[in-house]
Amino acid sequence: MRDVAIVAFAQSDCVRDAGARNEVELIMPVLQEVYKQTGINSAQDVDFTCSGSCDYQQGAAFAFVAGVDALGAVPPIKESHVEMDAAWALYESWLKIQMGQAESALIYGFGKSSPGELPIVLSQQLDPYYLAPLWVDTIAFAAMQARVMLEQGLITEAEMAEVVARSRKNAANNPHAQLKGDVSVDELLAEPEYESPLRRHDCCPISDGACAMIICTVEKAKEWGKPYAVIKGIDHRIETHHIGSRDLTQSISTKQAAEAAGVAQGPVDIAELYAPFSHQEIILRRALNLSDDTKVNPSGGVLAGNVMMASGLSRIGEVAMRLINGEGKRGVAHATSGPCLQQNLVTVLEAQ
């Protein structure tokens, strides 16, 4: 596989409610930002465009169609869309570059969750015959997962609180974060339970926003003359949908994707993990076999702000930008989808 360069990344602020701003208005600023970083004018200047979004967040069919209005797709462009997190739109674009059909690609993800009640909306992601009619929401599922881990002695509530305290502290340096600040483990543990054993702070916030990225061949990056990080490996795996058939205390599909992406082939300086619940960060750290030397979620991760359908791509962008800025030599980014980490994507990146 050839190396693929990430030359630009931009993300909006994570906000609880973007108000009257529509999808196009959420996307436009991040697109403009990545064009500026790359030194190009529009989507006409890349060979392929791919986006990720979910109709049910907005509550209307074809959320992505409005997105095309943000692209200046006149004359027509080569474009595609996944009904997934935009990290998978990156994967589709990466394949296009591998097959030689594109030298460069624009990827973007967006989500406006504020019009609905996200945890309940996502309950309709479940098996429509046996699970969806129960309206089990995402938080309830995550709470069951945390409960299993606590009861098996695999984590403690203090370890969960440590994840949150570190996220809030790291997020203080992230201008896009929704939740940040200095808070101690003791203070967090003094908070009441929300959906037992989870406290509110164990759950990611709900955010509106967007992000965008430009990738290209290494040759093209050199031609553009911009600094870049490279994707050395990328892989994604899914596991059974049936919660009762899974060992919820680990993430098999993350392990499989990490193996295929080559995570273990070198030290990992930085990792950004898509862990919407505090205990899931611990599961992911273990699945990726990260050492104590790895800086995990320096942005604060999604506990500091979670734009559904964009957060996965943002994890990859966060790592890439930090590598470009010299904060490390090798990094790992992770994206997830589905209840209790059902589907996972792992990317290995290197500084140049």
Partner: protein
């Protein structure tokens, strides 16, 4: 450089108004199992699954690929979900092909489906969008004014659409999987059917169907070892343009013209009417046959209806460029799968596997899909010959 890839297995379900005998999982499993059987493979032979379907509101299941992974034997493998509106079945096939053409995967399964009976597509397509005028029209209401403009510009006879409606249903009667089985249909019957959206009558519109379509796509080595005849992918292209912009040509959209030009160039097609043996083109409303004949370069602008009226696109009339021998979207429309059915039927023609609707000796065929406000396009050309 892109590596060679070929369709080595095709599976479809029977299309009908309501497949009450199967769940959504049962429906996709049926198509996928048929494709594996056709390729004489098992689930273990598949490296990844690429799933496509139209809006999730058509069944009320968000991102159903999560739930369908078990039914599609995908646990422990990569699963990707494509959604590009009505063109999605075609786009999904193209994305799936890129898994193999990139050299990253050897053999993959791609599936697309719609179980329209679970919901109401007219509602799902017309629910109010924030910050936009509410168009409570469904697809037919959206396209009718564009068709009227085509008729005005081209001076087409009023019954060109009726002719397509009859022709595609007579083709469909040769395809046991087609939803509508109307072997006795006449021009008069179509003309007498209720007017839905002037000039589209009830029998000039596609049905609402449940169904799924699947293909196994393999790399050159595996395709050559495959027991059946492979359909080599000679070209694949996609184009998108916005729904609305000042000066947009809606009757003969540029995105369609550009996409066709791209795919013809890849496949070495100079004259599509001469160089192709048949085509499966997304015609959900009768008048889109003459309109796409022009958009895709099979006829000069304003002359597409002449081809239709002459019988050139009819298999039964011995036309030189039969369109939609399977019965097309006018005979079966599980929306998310409809594009992939076009791509798969094109493959079946060049594999010689199209049964009673086979075009004798077909070597090269085109599959086409479009979606949104006629703004998203996906096309491929498959051939019995590698080069």
């Amino acid at each position: 450089m892109a590596q060679l890839a070929a369709v080595v297995g095709v599976g479809q379900t029977k299309y009908k108004t309501k497949r009450g005998d199967v769940s959504i999982a049962g429906l996709v499993r049926e198509a996928a199992q048929n494709a594996l059987n056709d390729a004489q493979l098992t689930w273990d032979d598949i490296d990844a699954v690429i799933l496509g379907k139209a809006p999730d509101m058509f069944e009320g299941v968000i991102m159903p690929e999560l739930y369908l992974t078990d039914a599609l034997g995908c646990n422990g493998k990569p699963m990707l979900r494509v959604h590009t509106a009505g063109s999605v079945g075609g786009s999904t096939a193209i994305v799936a092909a890129s898994y193999v053409q990139s050299g990253v995967f050897k053999r993959i399964l791609t599936v697309s489906f719609e179980k329209q009976s679970e919901s109401n597509a007219m509602w799902a397509l017309s629910n109010p969008q924030p910050f936009s005028p509410h168009l409570n029209a469904g697809a037919g209401g959206y396209f009718a004014p564009i068709i009227r403009e085509y008729m005005r510009r081209s001076n087409a006879p009023y019954d060109a659409g009726i002719k397509v409606a009859v022709k595609d249903r007579l083709h469909g009667a040769k395809n046991p999987l087609a939803h509508l089985q109307l072997p006795e249909i006449t021009m008069k019957e179509v003309e007498d059917s209720p007017m839905l959206w002037e000039p589209l009558r009830f029998l000039e519109a596609c049905p609402s169907s449940d169904g799924a379509c699947a293909m196994v796509i393999a790399n050159e080595d595996l395709a050559e070892q495959s027991p059946g005849k492979p359909a080599w992918i000679r070209g694949a292209a996609m184009r998108s343009e916005p729904t609305m912009y000042a000066g947009r040509e809606q009757v003969n959209p540029q995105a369609g013209r550009d996409c066709a030009k791209d795919v013809y160039k890849q496949a070495g097609i100079d004259n599509p009417r001469k160089d192709l043996d048949c085509a499966e083109i997304y015609v959900p409303f009768s008048w889109y046959e003459p309109m796409w004949l022009e958009n895709l370069g099979f006829a000069e602008e304003g002359k597409g209806w002449e081809l239709t009226m002459s019988g050139a696109t009819s298999l039964l009339e011995g036309g030189d460029i039969p369109w939609n021998c399977s019965g097309g979207v006018l005979s079966s429309n599980p929306i998310g799968a409809s594009g992939m059915i076009r791509f798969a039927e094109a493959a079946q023609q060049v594999r010689g596997e199209a049964g009673d609707h086979q075009v004798d000796g077909a070597k090269t065929a085109m599959g086409h899909a479009y979606g949104g406000g006629a703004q998203f396009y996906s096309m491929w050309i498959v051939s019995s010959e590698k080069h």
